[in-house]
Amino acid sequence: MSVLDSKTPEGPIEKKWDNHKNNIRLVNPANKRNIDIIVVGTGLAGGSAASSLAEMGYNVKTFCYQDSPRRAHSIAAQGGINAAKDYQGDGDSNYRLFYDTAKGGDYRAREANIYRLAQVSGSIIDQCVAQGVPFAREYGGLLDNRSFGGVLVSRTFYAKGQTGQQLLLGAYGAMNRQINRGKIQSYTRHEMMDLVIVDGKARGIIARDLVTGKLERHSAHAVVIASGGYGNVYFLSTNAMGSNVMAAWRAHRRGAFFANPCFVQIHPTCIPVSGDYQSKLTLMSESLRNDGRIWVPKHKEDVEKIRNGSLKPNDLKEEDRDYYLERRYPAFGNLVPRDVASRAAKERCDAGYGVNKTGQAVFLDFASAIERYGKEKAYSEGHHNPSKEEVTRLGKEVIKAKYGNLFEMYEQITDDNPYETPMQIFPAVHYSMGGLWVDYNLQTTVPGCYAIGEANFSDHGANRLGASALMQGLADGYFVLPYTIGDYLADEIRTGPIPSDTKEFDEAEKAVREKLESLLNNNGQNSVDYYHKKLGKIMWDKVGMARNEQGLKQALQEIEELQADFKKNVRVVGKFEAKNSELEKAGRLVDYFELAKLMARDALERDESCGCHFREEHQSEDGEAKRNDEEFKYVSAWEFKGSDQDAKLHKEELEFHSIELATRSYK
């Protein structure tokens, strides 16, 4: 048997979670008062877990690098949150949500976990409404739903385009209530620098107070990692500037296996890079693809003219345009899934048809939608022979009503008016499906160390469906971890307070101090961002949307060289014991180098195409992904073996009893 025990309960899939809850051990309320839990990260997963654990009576300490728990990057989620409530009476059910999620992830996640996610999804909505989260409602006063990509029912609950914000503020409120009661101690502007292991169990963390720069020791009976994803390894992503992998990576170095690191979602509709100074990318909602047509010019000479401004995109004749998604995927056209749309854009730009100065953009054109809507509206208003101007005016009105705020945001950033000229878009790194390996209890391979939300390898397999990230974060934090952690803590009721003056804490703190001091004393000549940008470029080019063996091997070598150069030549100015954002960035980059290599190795190892992971060697004649269930129907879980080169691969075979494996096709 593998060293990986998923602890999946017995029984039929719909009974597993209830059976499990009935059988796991609990901690009685009096004993909970004697148990301390550390939660690292205060987004949807961390915030909901911290408040729920504190409500139950545990003593909780939360840590976030932001100046408030409310600023965690969950706040930026736009579209909504899925739940199998079936309020619309369109035949939704737990099974259907489970099925869509498993299939959307290309069958690379654990069946029992996904089913549990679907089961608790309804309770999330109940909980959030009770907290006063202002979801959108219909005129009758009941909750409204919208539909999202990849599914056949309307199950997405939303609060305008700010669903993540509203859900996070709900969890933040729940946290605040516990802070006010004294059950949560909130450490803001604090970063977890290392995990402390005592006798094989997670017993605390070393944190750095980002204001004073001082290192602190915090002990506990369990540590929950809820620090989000690692998209920033690519430098440019839709993640927040501070999002980082340090907490998860340090846990990995202390023994927690890292699963499916190469599964990173790349979102097709983001605003393109405009120059070298670019610090981050902004997402434009996927919904735009409902009405926008994606194209590039057919001929290279037109590409040149558009790039140098001598030809306006609107003036290019229809027959000289290449609507490549409609050409390649006549059935789904512009509405193919995220991974397919992203790869197709990359293919055209790589071939030299990118339409902006950097050659990394395609057009998303609303002209035909404006005309179509304009004609419809004119007709419905009784003008059967409208002028061209009238059609355009009416069409713009319709588009404005549907996408007005997105168009404004686009114009604010690019200074182009998308009503008049096509938008430019390009794919960008968005979400990491990979993360710390966890069992059914969400415990990592380190006893007492748990991982929830985007930080774990999650329920999304090789690709995440829209509106499922919020669902998973809150499911883990509100409804799964608070129960399952008791099973472990039941053994800790007699442990008593964990001392933090032991040699394990000494050693961990010393290592952190040395790491930071060596960065500060390096006296090189290049800034941290100089290296981060280079690392991002390697990752984007070779471990990005499309991968192949040769590229991945090159990437491994290039990362190695860059890492060596970084160690020798990085310059980190400022002081240790002070607010020092350069030192913060440098510390994070150290871990990104190591993670980057593991991602490349994992991508190399997974010699198939599935979901977001597209190996060019494994595609059909017309460029579609070919999955290999015979050999790769497993979760790859990497064990750290002392240095970042020697990570050892373990495989958790995935079994599917309640769903049949099928191939996705969008032709």
Binding site: D67, S279, K579
Partner: protein, 248 residues
């Protein structure tokens, strides 16, 4: 573009700060304001000088981390815009730009342009929530209908990102808009009614304890709020508070 910057530098909370002049060249009008500061910081690192500390995170206008008083206005000259979404094309070649931290007694400077907004945290902790425990057995979400208008009004209040621009813009450094938005959100929802009295009293008391000024209805907060939170939220807070004191 070439720009002349006057930036507040302050070693730490205890130190005395001052405005320092910087000149920066080669700025692309398509840069965001914070990317312009990134460029300046890269320049400072190259000169072996300490870069300027400023708060920022999501850089897409929703997390509320970025601040900055730019040419005397919070988040700069654009309306309904956070500093991270402000772009350099709003400035002209040769402009002088003043960059200062948000100023208030309740927002002490941490370093350079970074401020401590934990006063906002403590106000929220005093009552910015509905006391409901996590449970898979709360009532079904559709049990209590909420009319659309109230739900939308509650949402508009809840859209506050807690950046502190209202305080920075106000001549009295009043936090009334921030507190009003939270109180209004719950005042417009049935879930918020049970604790309305204690919430209004506790949050207002905490607001005063933090040393914010009072509202004199100048309306600067509403104009400078990047999320368009309306002044009516303050009236709602006042009413809720008066209701609460006459009850409690």
């Amino acid at each position: 573009m070439k720009l002349f910057l006057k930036i507040w530098r302050q070693e730490n909370a205890q130190a005395k700060g001052q405005m320092v002049d910087y000149t920066i060249d080669g700025i692309d009008p398509n840069m965001s304001f914070l990317e312009m500061l990134d460029v300046l910081n890269e320049q400072l690192v190259a000169e072996n000088k300490e870069p300027i500390e400023f708060d920022h995170d999501c850089r897409e206008g929703i997390c509320g981390t970025c601040s900055l008083q730019i040419n005397g206005q919070p988040h700069g000259p654009d309306r309904l815009t956070t500093t991270c979404q402000l772009h350099m094309r709003k400035f002209k070649d040769g402009d002088t730009i003043y960059i200062e931290p948000f100023r208030a007694k309740a927002f002490p400077v941490v370093k350079d342009l970074v401020i401590d907004r934990s006063s906002f945290e403590r106000i929220q902790q005093a009552g910015g929530y509905v006391s409901v425990n996590t449970s898979g057995n709360t009532i079904d979400a559709n049990t209590i209908p909420v009319d659309k208008e109230s739900a939308d009004t509650a949402f508009d209040s809840a859209a506050c990102i807690g950046c502190g621009a209202c305080v920075a813009a106000c001549k009295n450094a009043s936090a009334a808009l921030f507190v009003g938005a939270k109180i209004s959100q719950f005042a417009n929802l049935p879930q918020g009614q049970v604790e309305a009295t204690q919430r209004a009293i506790n949050m207002v008391n905490q607001m005063d304890a933090e040393g914010f000024g009072s509202c004199t209805n100048t309306g600067a907060c509403e104009i400078e709020c990047p999320k368009g939170i309306k002044l009516t939220n303050i009236a709602t807070m006042n009413r809720e508070y008066i209701k609460a004191t006459t009850k409690g």
